[in-house]
């Protein structure tokens, strides 16, 4: 009971902070919505409004090439009163989504999967944060709050991914796959989480089910495929044509909109000669997806960590990343608090990220408003930002591998090592 009260207080406080920011500073939501660090072409709330307007006037929302988000979001937002006149409903929806994500995160933390999976138990597993602290770290993370106030639709993807994982850790493979399909339907890239997620489901499946891994995978892949297909068909029924496929997933795949963001793609593709474009699109996507196989195989014993790593990698290398993806990675990372002491450069990494967080808006200002800088300023800082996260990822990976290695070689515990 007392735990529940604590949780209620936490959620209440988080909701209150967001509500205060929404209502106390009326200019803030629109200001943050316009920030390229928060809103990308495929998640922007402003673009959603445009799509909604067209949809409500019986024009295809994809006409005009502004709206690149899934059609079902339109149905969701038409159910709400107009966000310009009654913004409170939109605010409430976004706050609720954040709280749901936090709830799912608490479920993941409570399962203890991070410390001891089916195939591996960390010797440090007792030294972990409570699910309460992890949820608090997520809910009061400035990136999460800024994302919530900026209202990009990526929060729905975040929520769906966290639900997929929270269902997987309790072995509810079908629900998990359904949540994953939702995430994939909204943003496509979560489909790459399928391999580690299915392994997590397999490891955690109820004892009475004794099917082989292959048939398990096939069954669940069919479930994912089926649910995605039905979602797509629903979208087809709503919009009346299949053109949404190229306007949503096509945009993610082919990157026609080169609005700046915190990722690495936009600048690269601005500079590129058109003849190389397709080749490099292939290379970039291949690069992004190549991590899935490698990490899943190497860290077979800790699928949840593979998911965490992949979310971090997506936040750096996906075509339209935003700080919303970063906040999702930061939500998962504290689950591995027990290996933090094994990380070597946390201070440097967090300093780099902090520097980039401050310099990013400053350089964007110099480029866009003051006119005294140029695109290179902002791109340079997105490089630094990505470098910071890459270092953090590599360091976390090192820590987990070292943790595994110490189980094999207990005599090396506490020794200084260097990987050559």
């Amino acid at each position: 009971m007392s735990i529940d009260r604590r949780k209620a207080a936490l959620f209440g406080a988080a909701a209150a902070v967001r509500l205060l920011l929404f209502t106390g500073f009326p200019g803030l939501p629109d200001l943050l919505t316009a920030r390229v660090e928060i809103s990308t072409p495929v998640t922007s709330f402003k673009r959603l409004q445009e799509g909604l307007f067209l949809y409500n006037h019986n024009v295809s929302p994809y006409d005009g090439g502004v709206y690149h988000q899934a059609p079902l979001l339109l149905t969701l937002f038409t159910l709400l009163p107009d966000s310009a006149t009654y913004p409170i409903f939109t605010y409430t929806l976004y706050i609720l989504v954040d709280l749901l994500s936090a709830h799912a995160l608490m479920k993941i933390a409570e399962s203890g999967e991070a410390g001891s999976s089916k195939l591996f138990t960390s010797p440090r597993k007792d030294k972990k944060w409570s699910s309460f602290s992890i949820a608090a770290a997520f809910l009061f993370n400035p990136f999460t709050i800024a994302t919530c106030i900026g209202r990009p639709t990526s929060v729905f993807t975040t929520c769906a991914i966290l639900y997929a994982i929270s269902k997987a850790v309790v072995g509810a493979s079908f629900t998990s796959m359904l949540a994953l399909s939702f995430a994939a339907y909204l943003s496509m890239y979560p489909l790459l989480l399928f391999p580690p997620l299915i392994l997590l489901c397999y490891d955690r499946r109820p004892a009475k089910r004794t099917e082989s891994l292959i048939s398990f995978i096939l069954g669940n892949a069919a479930a994912v495929g089926g649910s995605i297909l039905s979602l797509l068909h629903m979208s087809f029924l709503i919009t009346g044509s299949w053109e949404f496929l190229s306007s949503t997933y096509g945009v993610q795949l082919l990157l026609p909109d080169l609005t700046p963001n915190v990722g690495l793609w936009w600048y690269f593709f601005i500079e590129m000669f058109d003849s190389f474009r397709n080749f490099f699109l292939g290379v970039f996507w291949l690069h992004l997806s190549s991590y899935v196989g490698g990490l899943t195989i190497r860290l077979r014993r800790q699928p949840l960590f593979v998911l965490t790593m992949l979310l971090g990698i997506f936040a750096i290398f996906k075509p339209y990343p935003s700080i919303s993806d970063t906040s999702l990675f930061l939500a998962m990372l504290p689950l591995y608090q027990h290996v933090f002491p094994l990380m070597r450069y946390t201070f440097v990494e967090s300093s780099i990220v902090l520097y980039a967080t401050l310099l990013g808006p400053a350089f964007y200002y110099l480029w866009i408003y003051a006119g005294s800088g140029n695109a290179n300023f902002f791109y340079a800082i997105t490089l630094v930002w990505s470098l910071g996260w890459s270092l953090l990822l590599a360091d976390a990976l090192f820590a987990v591998l070292r943790d595994e290695w110490e189980v094999e070689r207990p005599e090396m515990k506490g020794k200084e090592i260097r990987q050559v």
Partner: protein, 634 residues
């Protein structure tokens, strides 16, 4: 390879390396300051040059002379008669004159409220549509009715009217020309530019009934006397330390000194002998103006909108007449008229040390960065130090031992990964982060308080509020420190971490700021330098008390409030005047120097004070060897 890596491992434990950072950070500050001081030398600064070839300064013959002088005299008589008339009446007359020249005229009234005062006025402007243009671009010629000192722009207003009439006769303009007469030098231009870009606060500020294309540049005439002048003074600082493109300045300098033979001076250096001292003084005055981020003339309001602008102020007693001034403007406008695109070729970040000598950002930025790096070095050092075991002095390994250890490295091959391990285990102490984070975050949030107070207090209350704040401010660190000791009794490590985080943030803010407003970052960095060297001590010897007293004195001298008092005393202004001006800057210009002072500098200072009066608790040595289980950090 292996030995190289292992030496890296051992280097980290070298006790001599650990003693280095405080000296290193001090060295950074020294180099940073020295760097700035060598900039005026010939080897480090450059002669200015025109980057944008389209400008072609001084390549045209100027025809503003002869009969136009009679027109000027006529207008001047009209203006003299209007000297003490109210704004509206003045504008009625100006409208009549401008309409007689065949221009479209419009008016805009505005009202600003700041520190309990109301500032109202009405701007009047006329648009000359370019005979060869398509109204997509415009250049602005501005004259404020009253200049920054409140003096009537006695010759400037007649000159702008004469030029309006004169420019209208030419058919060569390819950009629209806007003639703007503002009621004052600070609020009027701001209201007009805001409204031109539709970012004004309606209904206090009217929208503009008449508009033209994108503004390409603005020239302000500030000519408040009616005798002949000697040389030209150019004011170029914008709000928040933003500067106009150097090409604009170069154009005017090359026209005035090259074509017209008029000397040019900057930063109120009425005499400039091209000596090191004069160059340095010009540069430092420029940095001061940039650091304060206030408006130095009506042109300042244009610069945030990426409209390059400068103010031309004739000064001294010489043989140049108002027609020469008019020709400078005519020639400048002919140059700007040539522009094919917005001024972008030349520098936006520069320090000028003379009208034709400058240093660019690449040369001067390292000095501010070095000052900021000093904080970061100490932050990293303290972080590392806070992780070291308590009783280091008992088992400090000597260098000889360290060398021996090189041979004790174990190298093991396992799969593809080759692993080298050192014999000695690396012990890292558990860091207790929660309290330090809370203290630093708390002091950051506290900064909003003075920011709000000083921007929202009415003018007549500013002095008493400031005095009581200054007194409270001096007592605050002591009180906070005592409260902290009483409630949490922090350990040495926690104090180290508090300092580490505070300095990290300071270094972070300052290096970001250095890219936006170099001078402010440098000045704040320099004033905050002593904070690097403040340690809490629990020693009770007489010496430590004396040291503490001296440090407390230093700390109260470098307090933002004390610096403010000293600065206003040296400028010969009252505190009330300075604070009113600051609040005015905040409300009207969107100046954000205050944010830096109260939300960057002041929190760091408070933390410095908390550290000085801190009494670290003797802690029981608690080691957390890597890999050893221990309780969670939070």
């Amino acid at each position: 390879m292996a030995s190289l890596l292992s030496s890296g491992v051992l280097l980290r434990r070298n006790p001599h390396i650990l003693k280095l950072p405080p000296y290193l950070s001090f060295l950074c500050v020294l180099i940073g300051v020295a760097w700035l001081l060598v900039l005026p030398l010939d080897n480090y600064s450059r002669n200015t040059y025109i980057s944008e070839n389209a400008l072609l300064p001084g390549q045209v013959h100027t025809y503003f002379a002869g009969s136009d002088q009679n027109v000027f005299r006529g207008y001047k008589r009209e203006i003299d008669a209007l000297e003490d008339k109210p704004n509206i009446e003045v504008n009625d007359k100006l409208e009549e004159i401008l309409k007689a020249s065949g221009l479209k005229v419009a008016r805009q009234s505005y009202e600003y409220k700041s520190a309990g005062q109301t500032y109202t006025g009405e701007n009047i402007y006329a648009i000359l549509h370019a005979p060869r243009g398509d109204a997509t671009e415009a250049i602005v010629l501005v004259a404020a009715w009253k200049n920054m000192e409140g003096k009537l722009n006695r010759s400037g207003i007649p000159l702008i009217l004469t030029l309006a009439r004169y420019f209208k006769r030419w058919s060569l303009w390819s950009k629209d020309i806007i003639f703007l007469v503002t009621a004052d030098s600070t609020a009027g231009p701001q209201a007009w530019v805001d409204a031109y870009h539709d970012t004004h606060q309606s209904p206090a500020i009217d929208s503009l009934p008449l508009k033209s294309g994108a503004l390409q540049g603005a020239i302000v005439i500030d000519y408040p006397f009616d005798h002949r002048f000697h040389s030209l003074h150019i004011a170029y600082d914008g709000i928040n330390g933003q500067l106009p493109n150097l090409d604009l300045l170069n154009t005017v300098v090359s026209i005035a000194s090259g074509q017209m033979g008029i000397g040019v001076s900057l930063q109120q250096m009425w005499q400039h002998s091209d000596s090191y001292q004069d160059r340095l003084q010009t540069m430092l005055r420029g940095m001061m103006n940039q650091g304060l981020g206030h408006a130095s003339g009506p042109h300042s309001s244009f610069i945030p909108y990426h409209v390059d602008a400068i103010t031309l102020q004739p000064f001294g007693d010489g043989w140049q007449d108002e027609m020469a001034m008019g020709r400078v403007i005519e020639s400048t406008f002919r140059s700007l008229n040539n522009l094919l695109e917005h001024l972008h070729q030349s520098f936006f970040f520069y320090l000028l040390m003379q009208a034709n000598r400058f240093v660019s950002i690449g040369t001067y930025l390292p000095s501010a960065m070095l000052v900021a790096v000093n904080f970061t070095i100490m932050a990293i050092f303290l972080w590392v130090k806070s992780g070291y075991p308590q009783s280091t002095n008992s088992k400090t390994p000597s260098t000889v031992e360290a060398e021996e250890k090189t041979s004790q490295l174990n190298s093991s091959q396992k799969g593809n990964a080759k692993v080298i391990t050192a014999e000695e285990s690396s012990a890292v102490r558990e860091r207790e982060l929660l309290l330090p984070l809370a203290v630093v975050a708390g002091s950051q949030f506290l900064g909003v308080l003075p920011l709000y107070i000083f921007n929202h207090t009415p003018q007549n209350m500013l002095t008493p509020v400031f005095v009581s704040f200054a007194v409270a401010n001096n007592a605050l660190p002591y009180i906070l420190s005592r409260t902290l000791t009483h409630l949490f009794n922090p350990t040495t490590q926690q104090y180290q971490l508090i300092k580490s985080f505070s300095l990290l943030l300071l270094g972070l803010f300052l290096s970001s700021l250095a890219t936006l407003n170099f001078s402010l970052a440098f000045l704040v960095g320099l004033l905050a330098t002593p904070l690097t060297y403040i340690y809490p001590t629990s020693s009770t010897s007489a010496l430590s008390y004396v040291l503490k007293a001296v440090l407390a004195l230093v700390l109260s001298v470098i307090a933002p409030t004390a610096v403010l008092v000293a600065a206003s005393w040296s400028w010969g202004l009252s505190i009330e005047k300075v604070l009113t001006q600051a609040a005015y800057g905040w409300d009207v210009w969107g100046m954000n120097t205050q944010v830096v002072v109260w939300c960057v500098w002041w929190p760091a200072w408070i933390v410095g004070g908390v550290l000085l009066f801190g009494r670290p608790r003797e802690e029981t040595t608690k080691l957390n060897e890597r890999g050893q289980e221990s309780k969670a950090v939070i």
